[in-house]
Every structure is written in C-alpha cells, then in structure tokens.
C-alpha cells in the first residue's frame, strides 16, 4: 500500500537515529521506493544482517505494507 515518502522517512529516522537516509520514489506512486540508509547501528554487520535490521525496524509500521521497498544499506563513511 502506498505511503508518502515523508512518513517512510520519519519511520526510519525514528528507529535509526543519527543515520543518513535518502529515499527515491522509483515509480512516482508512493509505493515503490529505494531506501538508502547509512547508520552507525550497522557496525560489524554484514549485508544480510543490515537488511534484517531494517525489516525488523519497520515490522508493524505502515512501511511494512509498501509494495516494493528496495534497500541500500551501509555504514557511515
């Protein structure tokens, strides 16, 4: 289900404070996003673990129902 990007931004920012977040709306429909997130919380984690942390963070939130959410996770440079 569509979710405005500012709401997605807020949900992610609340759960990953001090992270750099960038959101691309891939289809212009608020339902296909690419979420770029660089967070110190990812220190020592591999890619699978970083994605699992994002999935866990959005569980139970409106972000969970976005049709397509592509993830690009990294540690802050």
């Amino acid at each position: 289900m569509p979710l405005p990007s500012d709401q997605l931004q807020r949900i992610i920012a609340e759960r990953f404070p001090d992270s750099d977040i960038r959101i691309e709306d891939l289809a212009g429909d608020n339902d296909h996003y690419r979420l770029h997130i660089a967070s110190a919380a990812f220190a020592g984690k591999n890619r699978v673990q970083m994605h699992q942390m994002v999935f866990a963070a959005i569980r139970g939130t409106p972000a969970e129902s976005i049709h397509a959410l592509s993830l690009v996770t990294s540690q802050p440079k």
């Binding site: 890619r47 699978v48 994605h51 699992q52 999935f55 397509a68 959410l69 592509s70 690009v72």
Partner: protein
C-alpha cells in the same frame, strides 16, 4: 506431514542455487524476482526455483527462518544470501561471480 523447514533445509543443502520467488522463472510475478532470474540467466547458471506465491506456508516459513519478509530469497551453496538488492549489488561489483567461482559453480574466467 513433512516439516516445511526441514524440506527447505534439505533443498538448499542439496541444490547449489535455490531461488524462492514470486511466480516462476518463465513468468516472474514481481520485478525483484525477475531481476534475480535475469542475473542467473546472464551467468548461464541453472537454478532451482520455487513459487512462494503458490504456497503461503512456504513464504511464511522462509520469512521466519531468515527474518526476511519479502521475496525473492536466494541460497547459494546452502547459504542464505538475502534478496534481489544484495544479489544485484554482488553481481554488479563482481562478488557474486567470485563466490560462484570459489564454490566451483562457474569457471573463474566466465
């Protein structure tokens, strides 16, 4: 009744590349699944595919096993690799080809 988790574990242990996806390789039902199929096609690698759209229990079980709510989910050499985003990143930066070569699934020159 066969335990689905056990079936998955046996499947990924006995098949070099396993893709749990939406739809079939011939007819993927989402862009992410289609991308994964395309990557293995380009590498000219056969893989074992299962349609999670056709089996809610399969999807639910994989989701719990891997803490991963979405499809596709990819296993290489029995190891959970994540989904489309990770596989695509690994393909584009050459990590995937290196991993496949290390596992003897493709020749290093390919």
């Amino acid at each position: 009744m066969t335990d689905i988790k056990t079936t998955i574990e046996q499947t990924v242990a006995t098949n070099p590349i396993v893709v749990y996806m939406r739809g079939t390789p011939q007819q993927p039902r989402c862009g992410f699944s289609a991308t994964v199929v395309e990557i293995f096609k380009r590498l000219d690698l056969p893989f074992t595919a299962f349609n999670a759209d056709a089996d809610d229990t399969l999807w639910e079980t994989l989701s719990k096993m891997n803490d991963w709510p979405t499809m596709p989910q990819i296993y290489i050499g029995g190891e959970f690799m994540g989904g489309c985003d990770i596989l695509k990143e690994m393909y584009l930066n050459g990590e995937l080809q290196q991993l496949l070569a290390d596992k003897g699934l493709i020749s290093p020159a390919a």
